[in-house]
């Protein structure tokens, strides 16, 4: 067992929140078409509030601290916060668009020995990247920031969110990462807005494109292994926990709201009203999340994909049921293996029934009253 896995298991046994993402602001200098955030400032935590929260998190055992946004460098106290986080010995990862990273910032980040900087890059072509960020010149500035960080020895990860607009450019972004000496990660998931609006989800790539992406050895390595049929379901599989959200990880917004994960907006408490540890230990919402095992998932526990599915409980929650399926992950399991999930089959069967009912209704339509036709 790797030391990282062992550490996670121990944190789970001890009830320690090993990893926290803290968004220090939702304000941003870019307006990415797929972004799930409302960029207005409704009263961010002050420098003193964030420092106090960091102190509480260190005492609670948090080791990995992801500082993200919004754009973190829009906070004029960002380096003060970063220095404080490092003085508390967190393993700090920073997420930024690197637009505001110049020579001075890159040198300062290197001196603070942060673990890594993750930078969003959508394309190697300015016309595509800048159209997604809606900020002219953003790719050029971002790449300058990345190169400066690398010249100071800072580990950089290029994060490539995949959508219809940049579907054909991931190989170019990957080559760009290699050229810059950066790591590369790709994500085909478009997250709904935090307020539940799912409009932006339609920007994501379709099923057949996802299938092609999952069969690109340059991305997934061994295609046969990656796309192999689902593993057999046994008690061990059904006893598994869905993911680390709420178990060894959580998310805190710029307003102090605590959620199981940035992609799981179940309000679980606010650090302005309660201590971090009080919420972590006693929140009824987090306790509910922790009570869910694979065998409790409605529909998923009987699905053949349950042992290998990447089901996100947060996306399921945003679909209306944290114990239910996440359609985006059903589609991923299908694109990977060619085998539809139980949820997909049930939906298809329901659609078939609906077609029959509609067909029946068309015959009777002229004989029904208007309200009846609306009901059908």
């Amino acid at each position: 067992m790797s030391l990282m896995r062992e550490m996670n298991n121990r944190a789970l046994q001890l009830g320690v929140p090993l990893s926290v993402q803290l968004d220090v602001t939702y304000r941003c200098n870019e307006r990415c078409v797929h972004c799930y955030l409302d960029h207005r400032d409704y009263g961010e935590m002050s420098t003193a509030e964030i420092k106090d929260l960091m102190r509480q998190m260190a005492e609670a055992g948090v080791f990995f601290l992801v500082l993200s946004g919004g754009e973190v460098f829009l906070r004029t106290d960002f380096f003060e916060l970063l220095e404080y986080a490092r003085a508390l010995s967190f393993c700090v990862k920073v997420k930024t668009n690197a637009f505001m990273v110049g020579e001075r910032e890159a040198a300062r980040l290197a001196r603070l020995h942060i673990d890594s900087v993750q930078v969003s890059v959508y394309s190697h072509r300015p016309e595509i990247h800048d159209a997604i960020t809606k900020l002219p010149g953003s790719l050029k500035r971002t790449l300058t920031g990345i190169r400066l960080l690398r010249s100071h020895g800072v580990k950089v990860i290029l994060a490539n969110v995949l959508m219809q607009q940049n579907l054909n450019d991931y190989a170019g972004v990957k080559a760009l990462a290699r050229e810059c000496g950066a790591e590369y990660t790709i994500d085909p998931t478009i997250t709904p807005m935090m307020d539940g609006d799912r409009g932006i989800v339609q920007l994501g790539i379709g099923a057949s494109d996802l299938e092609n992406v999952f069969r690109d050895p340059g991305l997934v390595g061994n295609v046969e292994e990656f796309c192999k049929p689902p593993v057999a379901v046994d008690d061990d599989v059904l006893d598994e926990l869905p993911c680390s959200a709420g178990h060894t990880a959580c998310y805190v917004s710029p307003y102090g709201d605590l959620y199981p994960c940035v992609q799981f907006p179940l309000p679980s408490g606010n650090v302005r009203k309660q201590t971090f540890l009080d919420i972590w230990r006693n929140s009824t919402q987090l306790q509910e999340v922790r009570s869910i095992h694979a065998r409790d998932l409605e529909g998923c526990s009987e699905c053949w994909h349950v042992g290998s599915c990447t089901r996100c409980p947060g996306l399921a929650y945003m679909e209306g049921n944290m114990r239910g399926p996440s359609s985006a992950d059903c589609e991923k399991s299908f694109a990977r293996t060619g085998i539809p999930s139980l949820n997909m089959r049930r939906k298809a069967a329901a659609r078939d029934s609906l077609v029959q009912i509609q067909g029946f209704a068309e015959v009777l339509g002229s004989q029904m009253s208007a309200p009846c036709r609306e009901a059908v």
Binding site: L3, G61, F63, S89, F90, H113, D115, K155
Partner: protein, 98 residues
């Protein structure tokens, strides 16, 4: 002459149960110190000599002979220094040198 030891500033560290988890910023390598290693790590302030740490902290907390404890402690700090997570010197170590 006794050695002075200080935690490198290029690490992240956190106590998990009775162990100390340490990650090197140099290459993201992960280390796990047991309870004895953990007290040595926490006492490594750059100004307290290692033999004093062993005598006053390690031997006070654990049932171990001083000679044996010092030998093991020297081996441990040598190993940590080789991974760049501990600074060892024959003189007190200033914070900026950590």
């Amino acid at each position: 002459m006794s050695a002075y030891i200080a935690r490198s500033s290029a690490v992240a560290a956190r106590k998990l149960g009775s162990d100390m988890i340490i990650m090197s910023a140099r290459d993201s390598s992960l280390f796990d110190l047991n309870d004895v290693g953990c007290v040595i790590w926490e006492a490594a302030d750059g100004v307290t000599p290692l033999d004093e740490i062993v005598r006053n902290v390690v031997c006070a907390e654990f049932d171990v002979a001083p000679e044996e404890a010092l030998q093991d402690a020297r081996e441990l700090v040598r190993e940590m220094a080789s991974f760049g997570i501990m600074v060892v010197s024959d003189q007190p170590i200033a914070p900026e040198a950590q």
